[in-house]
Amino acid sequence: MNPDPGTPNLLSLAERLGRVAYRNQGRSEARPHIVVDTAICNSGCPHKCTTYVCPANCYTLDEMNQVHFQFEDCIECGTCMYACDQGAVAWSYPDPEAGRGVNWQRG
């Protein structure tokens, strides 16, 4: 009866981030607005939670289970600042001129 029983369009995270309008995208070097002391992550953090709670997957694990951080995909949500309870995340807002960050088109 239903002409189109298929599942809705489910997107990968990469496809989703492709729909985010970032600032200063043309700039080769943007100033990071979040600084992560990954030495803390990689020396006894029991959960390394930023690697899964971050909605933009800015925190990743390599094959050695080490945490790496990049700020370029950050959508300024703030999640890591609260989720990290180890004191590894120094969070601030991106500089309008020199930083990265988002320009929400809908929000």
């Binding site: 599942t7 489910l10 997107l11 989703r16 899964y52 949500c77 609260y82 320009n103 929400w104 809908r106």
Partner: protein, 442 residues
Amino acid sequence: MDEQFDCIIVGGGIAGLSAAMTLARAGATFLLVERGEWSGAKNVSGGVLWGTDLHRLVPNYWEEEDGGWERFVNHRRLTLMDAGGAFSLDFKSDHFDAPPYTGVTVLRSRFDAWLAGKVDEAIAASPKPDESFLATDILVESVIVDESGAATGIRAGGDEFHARCVILAEGVNNLLARQVGLEKEYVPADHVAVGVKEVIRLGRETVEDRFQLRGRSGLTNEFVGAATDGIDGGGFLYTNTESLSVGLVIGMAALRESGRTPYDLLNAFKAHPAVADMVRGGETVEYSAKVVSTGDIRGVPREVYMDGLMIAGEAAHLVLNAGRAIQGMDYAMRSGILAAETALEAVEAGDTSSAQLQRYRQRLDESYVMQDMKAFQGAVHLLHSPHMTGALPRMACDFGREFFTVDNEPTRKATAILRDVRKQHIGLVDFLKLGASAARHL
């Protein structure tokens, strides 16, 4: 700059703009500083702006052909979900159809920009049109605090700006509230959630046909249970003019505990049969995420004022979800208005000390904002209890599956079905406690 404003507002979201509008109308001078390229460029919400305060801020806002809002809410639905089922409480009434309306859906990038335009108009119409400004694309680095501990202005873009008082309306990630010591240096995960959302474009006609809407009417639908796979939180689906806002709000501590990612949970929500049928054929045009306060009153900063400074909106964690509506933007609006009224009174009196600005706290306490936040804390805790995302939605759906199924076998009465599903999912004492708690708190 030697000039001293009556007030400096940090943040051009709803709280900041509501404060600005109030000041502009009263003829006070102010500088509003917004870090986004435009007001709204950094702002995300679910989002429904509940209540009628928008009419107070922008009288007869609905008369404008192309106002910044999306649809007024005249159809509401709360859905309890298990893996395959959706049991809803659904309410539609024509009393919702008359202006000033009691809720409108919004997309913040557009709504805030529109509201900022209204504030600009108010500045232009004020007695001092050249002495108040909305400045965008400027990040405030710090609040200037003098040796007596009073806020006297801000540092931004390498300059200092001074005012008789400062209103912080910087949003939930309230770094300046932390700098001045009203907010804790580290806010723990327990007091916040993370929202993730897609805006899914369907086209105006499809939105209206699929959701049985007319003109600018709209539907709001909140979900608990399988929406978040039983993790503390819930889902939402709101109709915009030609798109849907579909997303999840997930308790931060619970998410950390779960080991799951918010984007995979969002995909699972979209794939749930009840949601899939609503979003099918749509094109995701934006993905966004934002931390949101849980509405636990313990998350409210130590105080919302000090010498020379007040905190409004979500920067003060003024948010409430007591099961009826997820309120935050209306709290931002009202608290922004109340902070500005307090600022006006303080400037008039020539005293912006905390002794004077505690009137802001008083006004908040007297308003529906703090009255509701206080009265419904029990409901907040109930909604965050494991049964609300676990046993209860599963019971409702099991009940629904039997109650609504006709299979040409002898039919059991509702009470017998209820007794059975209750036994399957929750102990009697827990069930009675849940009922008692709901009766007391909701």
